[in-house]
Amino acid sequence: MTPDHAIEVDALSRRFGAFTAVDAVSFDVGRGEIFGYLGANGAGKSTTIRMLCGLLAPTSGDAVVAGARVSTSPEAVKRNIGYMSQRFSLYPELKVRENLEFFGGAYGLFGRHLNTRIAETLDRVGLHGHAEDRTSSLPGGMRQRVALAGAILHEPGIVFLDEPTAGVDPVARRRFWSLIRELASAGTTIFVTTHYMDEAEYCARVGLMVAGRLPALDTPEGLKATYVPGDLFVLRGPGAHADDARARLLAVPGVVDVATMGAGLRARCAADAHVRGDALAAALPAEVEVEPDTASLEDVFLAVVDAEAQARGAARAFGEGD
């Protein structure tokens, strides 16, 4: 293991009976990196994260997390990581401070050191003054930050976040992500699963899971360049509503793909074709407004799922059900 890798995953697999939830996945995560793990529900994200946290034994393959092998020394892994599960599992009838005291105690913190860490951590996640609040009385966004506080109380080198923003409003999500970035810039490695594509843009690198496999892994820009190459245009107006608009656009040389987007159409053109916006407008029978567009990770995701489905002959994206 190289010292600059916080996580090294080597052909990690997990089967449940005949079903393969995670299929020979390999990747590395650098220290202080924000690593995003994307995929549809049931693609194997949670199973992967559980194996990396020492909660679930791999069927084959292995991973080294914070210097310890998950297959042979899961307890050593647990001591050195923080884990925030999908349903951030705080005890609602306990106060914020009591929840943190409990998780601190679980990691062997106690006494004055524990109290100092609780105060520091609450400050850090912006919950100063909420220590005595009953956890059940807090709004979802705040509860989520309490859960994060519980996961970083013992100053772990790596924090695993399993869909941390599920069910939290956009403002709280943004705030949470700025916390995550602060943590990472202070040197903590962040491994986060999500199915919000916009959140994945915050990650230094993104792995895309489809049906238990990891076919795509790169920076968000790299993924877009690989999977959604070329120029994108959005067309809006009466011309885009014509019945044969799609066919007409596809007939324009260089146009690779046309999809509906909102009330209009979105056309992807090969990069070397240098298609211009007015060429697209001219192909349509009525007036249309053309604007260049940029690729999103959602485009990447769809492209990857498509490519995988073609590679397998059929799209099978149902998983272990999380």
Partner: protein, 378 residues
């Protein structure tokens, strides 16, 4: 080791907070045992008291009236009226006006005067079989007593107590008033403790599975032994409070005595509770679901503790398969200790086999539940 203690302390403290904050747990833990004690103590009674009695006196002699007085003097039977004919008994029973009919035939006084045994008839409404049996025993004892007294007055020099049947004497040995509350309260104590201990731990652990906090717990360095010990300690403390509460209430409300070794009782209570808590833990570890855990714990603790422990039905009277089965019901041993210490004044010498049995059950349950406690998720 120090880390283990820190983790156990954190678990136990958290669990204690849960208990304190959860009204349902407090209710099940502290109020329910008292309610059950009162319900069983007052409601379930094998005492025969104020059985409504109708009298058919065909003899109409001072002796026959003396017999009726003897029947009604101790309040076991209460005279509700007279009938002309014993054939009317069915109607009286059906209407509920009486549950017993005493028929004294003509010639009763004359038979006594000749020094013969006089026969009287007692018709009982056998719809309630257990009180019928108890009433028969009583009636038999009293008629013999009354007849003896009459015989004694007629034949000088005969002892009045000579006719007392043996069964009446044994009944009153450690329970002079023959009060079934005294017999039942130790049983209720074990029963309630079993039910509450199994139910509360089962719920406490199943809840963590359901909420998903168990997964969070498993991602920390907290080990299964930490979880088991941390979960059991606060409930053990709560169980100790329950025992004190129930026994105090038993003493106060039902006049339950304390005649034997209190230390033996305390040790037995702790071992019994450990076993029941372990059983609850095992149930929740296997079911991982509050609904199923509730049903499994009530069934597995309530029924054996009530039916196979000697609480309601004497073990000696059971058919042999049930008697054999009762050996693996821990409540059996705890009830034996409770009755022994409270009513009979027993100590180590008499009760050590029961303590050993309780220890074995507790060790088995805690060991199996800890072993079954998989810290992996799948």
């Amino acid at each position: 080791m120090r880390r283990f203690l820190i983790r156990v302390r954190a678990m136990a403290y958290k669990e204690a907070l849960h208990i304190r904050r959860d009204p349902l747990t407090l209710y099940i833990g502290l109020v329910l045992p008292l309610i059950m004690l009162l319900l069983f103590g007052f409601g379930v009674s094998f005492d025969i008291d104020h059985i409504p009695l109708a009298v058919v006196d065909d003899d109409r002699s001072p002796e026959s009236r003396a017999l009726v007085d003897a029947f009604t003097a101790a309040h076991e039977f209460e005279r509700k009226g007279s009938l002309d004919d014993a054939d009317a008994a069915g109607d009286v029973f059906a209407s509920g006006r009486a549950a017993a009919v005493l028929e004294i035939p003509e010639g009763y006084a004359r038979a006594l005067a000749r020094g013969e045994t006089a026969e009287v008839g007692l018709l009982l409404d056998a719809a309630d079989a257990s009180s019928t049996t108890a009433a028969l025993v009583r009636a038999d004892a009293m008629s013999r007593l009354a007849t003896a007294r009459v015989v004694a007055s007629a034949v000088p020099g005969m002892s009045a107590s000579g006719g007392l049947p043996v069964s009446a004497a044994t009944w009153t040995r450690f329970n002079p008033a023959g009060r079934s509350a005294l017999f039942l309260v130790p049983g209720v104590t074990a029963y309630v403790l079993a039910l509450v201990a199994v139910l509360l731990t089962a719920l406490a652990v199943a809840r963590e599975w359901e909420r998903g906090s168990m997964e969070q717990l498993f991602a920390t360095p907290v080990g299964r032994l930490d979880i088991v010990v941390g979960k059991l300690l606060p409930y053990l403390a709560m169980g100790a409070v329950q025992v004190l509460l129930v026994l105090t209430a038993g003493a106060w409300v039902f006049g339950l005595p304390l005649r034997g070794n209190l230390l033996v009782l305390a040790i037995a209570a702790i071992l019994f509770m450990l076993g029941m808590l372990g059983q609850g833990l095992l149930i929740s570890v296997v079911t991982r679901n509050q609904m199923v855990a509730t049903q499994a714990s009530t069934l597995s603790s309530m029924l054996p503790s009530m039916l196979l422990s000697g609480f309601m039905f004497p073990i000696a009277n059971m058919p042999w398969p049930l008697r054999a089965l009762s050996h693996i019901v821990p409540a059996r041993y705890f009830i034996a200790v409770l009755r022994g210490v409270l009513l009979k004044g027993n100590g180590w010498t008499e009760l050590w086999p029961d303590l050993v049995a309780l220890l074995a059950f507790a060790a088995f349950m805690v060991a199996v539940s800890t072993a079954r406690f998989q810290r992996k998720l799948a």
